[in-house]
């Protein structure tokens, strides 16, 4: 088991009180697994990704543990996490456009970065990885501004995984890209896993259709809690949580026309996480909510590897 997260709680400090962005999240990941993390904005998916590598100043670790390869990650301790960052846990940020130093040629930047981590640059290895993502070796002699968005994204992917981290967090890496570049980047991610550059990967996105192509397992979050976690095909074909069902129903696919099939969104909006309601958090928008939903539903394994937090599932 590569990653084990137990009852993780991360709150944001604000003037009005604590925003409970992650409120008791538990899950585990196998070696070689790509976990797709999906949900609406504000559901806590980025917070989860960030807390595994670096919490920003407003975030506070309120409880729960994270274990990576049997070792506990000191996620609340910014200093001690430095030993793990880049080597054990690495990140591909959403805006790779601004992730690279604009005043250095890429090759020099990579060398400096590795030196600062006490590692040496293996040029052959770097070049073989560049060809895996179909980047010419000449990019190392260019400035970031000379690369297109998709190329920068792939370059950052190569840099983040240079030290073969155990866990890679890819946060909305394809959101800013065109469909054809998105496909290339997504396939490169799978290629990295297959080549063993990363052991496991968390792929954070709001695009369920894209996740279903990349991920082995999909985890759907709602308002700071897990709603459903299952193998990708099960989520797409047989979703059990009403939120997952509604979310899938609201996706227009190529071939679906307004005149033929009228799709509907989900009425209402997610609850405020400053003071979230007791019980199931999806209750107020849920079409099948009943009396038992006042109690908080536990995450139950209703089929092998299919976890759902819903009384009605």
């Amino acid at each position: 088991m590569s990653l084990q997260v137990n009852d993780l709680r991360v709150y944001y400090r604000t003037l009005k009180g604590d925003v409970k962005a992650l409120d008791g999240v538990s899950f585990s990941m196998e070696d070689g697994e790509i976990l797709g993390l999906a949900g609406e904005s504000g559901c806590g998916k980025t917070t989860l990704g960030k807390s595994l590598i670096r919490m920003d100043g407003r975030m506070r670790h309120m409880g729960g543990t994270v274990e990576l390869d049997g070792r506990e990650l000191p996620i609340g301790d910014d200093r001690r996490m430095n030993d793990f960052r880049f080597r054990e846990v690495s990140l591909i940020p959403q805006y790779s456009m601004s992730a690279m130093n604009p005043t250095r040629k890429i090759g020099r930047m990579v060398r400096e970065l590795l030196r600062s981590r006490g590692a040496t640059l293996d040029l052959d290895e770097l070049e073989s990885r560049l060809s895996l993502v179909e980047l010419p070796h000449a990019v190392l002699d260019r400035y970031p501004i000379e690369l297109s968005g998709g190329m920068k994204q792939r370059m950052v992917m190569v840099i983040s995984t240079l030290l073969d981290p155990s866990l890679l967090i890819a946060d909305e890496v394809t959101s800013a890209l065109d469909v054809s570049t998105q496909k290339a980047v997504a396939r490169a991610l799978i290629g990295f896993r297959d080549a063993g550059f990363v052991k496991s990967m968390i792929f954070v996105t709001h695009d369920l259709a894209l996740t279903s192509h990349i991920a082995d397992t999909i985890m759907v979050m709602y308002a700071g809690k897990l709603a459903e976690k299952a193998p990708a095909t099960a989520i797409v074909k047989k979703p059990r949580h009403p939120y997952t069902k509604l979310l899938l129903d609201s996706l227009p696919e190529v071939g679906v026309r307004y005149t033929e099939k009228r799709l509907a969104g989900i009425a209402g909006s997610p609850p405020s996480l400053l003071d979230p309601p007791a019980g199931c958090r999806f209750r107020s928008r849920c079409p099948i909510a009943g009396e038992e939903c006042v109690q908080e539903p536990p995450m139950a394994e209703i089929e092998p590897n299919h976890f759902v937090a819903c009384w009605k599932a």
Binding site: E40, D178, H206, H213, L247, Y258, L263
Partner: protein
């Protein structure tokens, strides 16, 4: 209603504007009243530039854009009939003012003589038209409303005028899946009421859901246009096929588009005309960059 005829937009680039770059190159299409036309293209295809030229926010280098026969002329008379809604609803509002101030600005500019009570009625009924509850959204600050609500308020603002054409530039890209579809359904309802909508997007599935006709742009030129069912159901241009193959689908595996080498439309390319494969379904030369045009 809206008619683009051989529209060109050239930007000067380089250190002293020494080089030119054609962002839009000879684009012609039209939008009828009561119709949604989706303008699809990747980044840099010139789709937003076309939207901006229609709205008078960018000058037109060559060709003509007319609405009901009248050329684009930025000013009150023009904006009474043609309005735009853009990608980022959060930056369209001034955060220190209440969101409904956008309605007051419309009143001050276009209906200064109208009574407050009558105006209030109109605002409320228009807000109900965009499927919002006036009591929930009026008097709120932008940060208290969701992206979907803000985006629908901007559409309501445009509807308060005698609107004929709405340019919707990526209006759903920043919204969540659960609210995005509501905004799309709203556009479809407006279309049924006789509004012409130019829906600019990079998302093929959204364009496919909504539009009667589709125009596919690549590097400033139209590669394929026609009825949405035809363009997406039977794409003729390799670029359209490539785009469609790249769209991730829920229930089907990712496919690779077979590259087309031969071009049936090549002889038309030299004259710059598009080939009419079927009535209303136009295709450009398929040899992409090797095209002699």
């Amino acid at each position: 209603m809206l008619k683009l005829d051989n529209v060109t937009k050239v930007y000067k680039v380089g250190a002293f504007g020494g080089k030119v770059f054609a962002a839009v190159d000879g684009v012609s299409f039209d939008v009828q009243a009561g119709e949604v036309v989706s303008l699809i293209g990747e980044s840099g295809s010139g789709k937003s530039t076309i939207g901006k030229m229609i709205l008078g926010l960018a000058s037109i280098t060559g060709g003509s854009i007319t609405v009901d026969g009248v050329p684009v002329k930025p000013g009150k008379d023009y904006y009474r009939h043609v309005q735009g809604v853009f990608q980022d609803p959060f930056s369209c509002y001034n955060p220190v003012f209440k969101a409904d101030r956008v309605f007051q600005m419309i009143k001050d500019a276009y209906y200064p003589k109208l009574g407050d009570k009558e105006w209030d009625e109109r605002v409320r009924s228009t807000i109900r038209d965009v499927r919002l509850d006036p009591d929930q959204v009026l008097g709120r600050y932008p940060h208290q409303l969701s992206g979907g609500q803000l985006q629908r308020l901007l559409i309501a603002r445009a509807l308060l005028l005698d609107l004929k054409l709405l340019v919707a530039d990526e209006i759903t890209s920043m919204l969540d899946a659960s609210t995005r579809i509501d905004v799309l359904n709203l556009l479809a309802e407006l279309k049924e009421r006789g509004l012409g909508v130019l829906y600019v997007t990079h998302d093929l599935s959204l364009g496919n859901y909504l539009a009667e006709r589709t125009v596919v742009l690549r590097r400033g030129t139209v590669v394929e246009m026609g009825a949405t069912g035809k363009v997406f159901g039977d794409p003729l241009h390799p670029y359209t096929r490539q785009l469609l193959a790249a769209v991730p689908r829920l229930h089907a595996p990712w496919e690779d588009a077979a590259p087309t080498q031969t071009c049936h439309y090549h002889e038309n390319a030299a004259s710059g005309a598009m080939f009419e494969a079927e009535p209303g379904h136009l295709v450009a030369c398929a040899q992409l960059d090797a095209c002699p045009k």
